[in-house]
Amino acid sequence: MPTKTYLQAINEALRQEMERDSNVFIMGEDVGPFGGCFGVTKGLYEQFGEKRVKDTPITESAIIGAATGAAAAGLRPVCEIMFVDFIGVALDQLFNQAAKMRYMFGGKAKIPMVLRTPQGAGIGAAAQHSQSLEAWFAHVPGLKVAMPATPYDAKGLLVTAIRDDNPVVFLEHKLLYGLEGEVPDELYSVPFGKAEVRRSGKDVTVVATAKMVHTALEAAEVLAKDGISAEVIDPRTLVPFDTATVVESVKKTHGLVVVHEAVKHAGFGAEIAAQVAEMAFDYLDGPIVRVAAPFTPVPFSPPLEQAFLPDVNDIVAAVRKIRG
């Protein structure tokens, strides 16, 4: 299988879906000739022209609103918000318009739009350009939320997102853009709501998202040397969430550690922990432990940013805490 980066995989999904379906178009700030702030839309303007790769003014609510309206009118917009942090400017259009239209209209509208946006810390971009906000989106009924961790999933999940008849928030991790992996040339889709067991194990279940999947896999290697066998699960989508796979795993391992880069307080990890507590409490032989960022904005200076980010040691320590 050919090897591609996470960024190339997303670009390929966009290109192939645009070739396949003329209703699919792209819209966002600097997505045209510039190719997107991180280069994700490079080459698409050249191939599809201005009508289908539209540079917008710097007006996030106008972008989300236009995508919502265009989707309601039968198109399939994929809009880019340059950094997830900028969604604040457009929350009404996303939370109150895109997410609720179908429900409020009694099922009489479809909003097949995708909002692609990078999140995550690690590049010294500070508090207004580094957040992980998946919990915000996952909390709003009407939105679906995808968080690919690998190039393969990035392509397959984006294809599913574009074909989905609901608004999908597609969260890319900016530090994963350069990650390489096997990605088929042909179109394929990865289903929503189906977690991937990235490593199987028997002593503890580690559920991790996005970049933390890789951190958790490294931690699993370290733990393996100590004879602790960790099962690492990547949910891939938070809405829908594959509770069954996680619960099954916990029934086998009897321990759960949840890992994400977003701040721990009111993070999605709390939801996972609560679901497992509700459904598999009797199988747990100790408390569920969450590994996540501290309750602070993301700091700028490198040592502070490193201190903010959960790392391999944090995960190893969490597992040791319950598997002493």
Partner: protein
């Protein structure tokens, strides 16, 4: 307010300071000493300088992601600025903010801002506080042509005018929002035209002429201090560097840049002051030497300062 020789020289000094500071930042960013993003202000010095020369220390400004020039013109401390850019504990934000978030509330600098269009509503709030307390302080909102399209900016202008807030909206129209030229992001040629919708004065000035900027802002500030409400001043200018350091700038042509470089706000002002006999070669050299020394100290301070300790990540979240 009249521009005497001393004031003119002060303005010249500020412009040189901004240019030199930015050149140093460019150098250090290229050398990998400055993490994150850096957006340089080179070529736009006349806007910040002409505007802030009107302001008093107690007046407020809100800045942008391209904020170094605004901060310097409002009196920002080069050492603390440089230390912040380096991510050091001694920086303006203790290493937590970086280039895009430097603030000095004591100097009325309510922050550079990583969110395009974030400043307008905040400037209104500062102006509201002044109106509320009955002081004659004003607030200046610096914002780009790109930011002018944000709802927040339009909402802020409307509110400021409805409430007659002492705000001056200073638009820096440098022709681009990252790669997007203004001709593609708006239908009007002059952002100043939008002032009509809010019943406030809207004027276009040559943003590369520091005296023209000063005069337009002085009139607007005067109006604001007298309780007559906000104004919009559009300064036509140009950014010489890429949107951020590392931007290859493939979306604009060399010719355009050359044309604008020929209108260099600093060289023009220098020439003017020379012609008027206000500036001499000797004086110019002294000004530059002083600034070079100040910058050297700022860099040394930044380099020698400690990085923050990891535990500090948890500090300052709540008061």
């Amino acid at each position: 307010m009249s521009l005497n020789e001393e004031k003119l020289l002060q303005m010249y000094t500020t412009m040189v300071k901004i240019r030199e500071f930015e050149s140093k930042v460019q150098e250090f960013f290229a050398a990998g000493k400055i993490p994150g993003f850096v957006h340089l202000y080179i070529g736009e010095e006349a806007v910040a300088t002409g505007t802030c020369a009107v302001l008093r220390p107690a007046d407020y400004i809100t800045s942008t992601h391209r904020g170094h020039g605004h901060l310097i013109a409002k009196g920002g401390d080069l050492k603390k600025m440089m230390a912040e850019l380096f991510g050091k504990k001694t920086g303006y934000c203790k290493g937590k903010g970086g280039s895009m978030h430097i603030a000095d509330v004591d100097l009325g600098i309510l922050g550079a801002n990583g969110i395009v269009g974030g400043g307008g509503p905040i400037a209104n709030g500062a102006a509201l506080a002044a109106q509320y307390r009955g002081t004659d302080q004003v607030a200046v909102c610096f914002f780009g042509d790109g930011a002018s399209n944000q709802g927040t900016t339009q909402e802020a202008m409307n509110l400021a005018s409805a409430w007659k807030l002492p705000v001056v909206f200073v638009n820096e129209n440098n022709g681009y929002g990252i790669s997007c030229p203004t001709c593609k992001s708006m239908a009007v040629a002059d952002i100043a035209d939008r002032a009509a919708a809010y019943d406030m004065p809207g004027v276009v000035v040559d943003g590369n002429d520091v005296v023209a900027v000063y005069e337009a802002v002085a009139e607007a500030v005067d109006r604001a201090r007298k309780g007559n409400g906000p104004s919009l001043i559009e300064c036509k200018t140009y950014r010489w560097c890429g949107h951020f350091e590392g931007d290859a700038c493939t979306y604009r042509d060399e010719e355009e840049l050359r044309t604008w470089k020929a209108k260099d706000p600093l060289a023009r002002f220098r020439e003017k002051l020379m012609d008027q006999g206000i500036l001499t070669e000797d004086r110019d050299r002294k000004i530059r030497e002083t600034i070079a020394q100040e910058l050297q100290e700022a860099v040394r301070f930044a380099e020698e300062s400690p990085l923050p300790a990891p535990e500090e990540v948890l500090e300052d979240v709540y008061a």
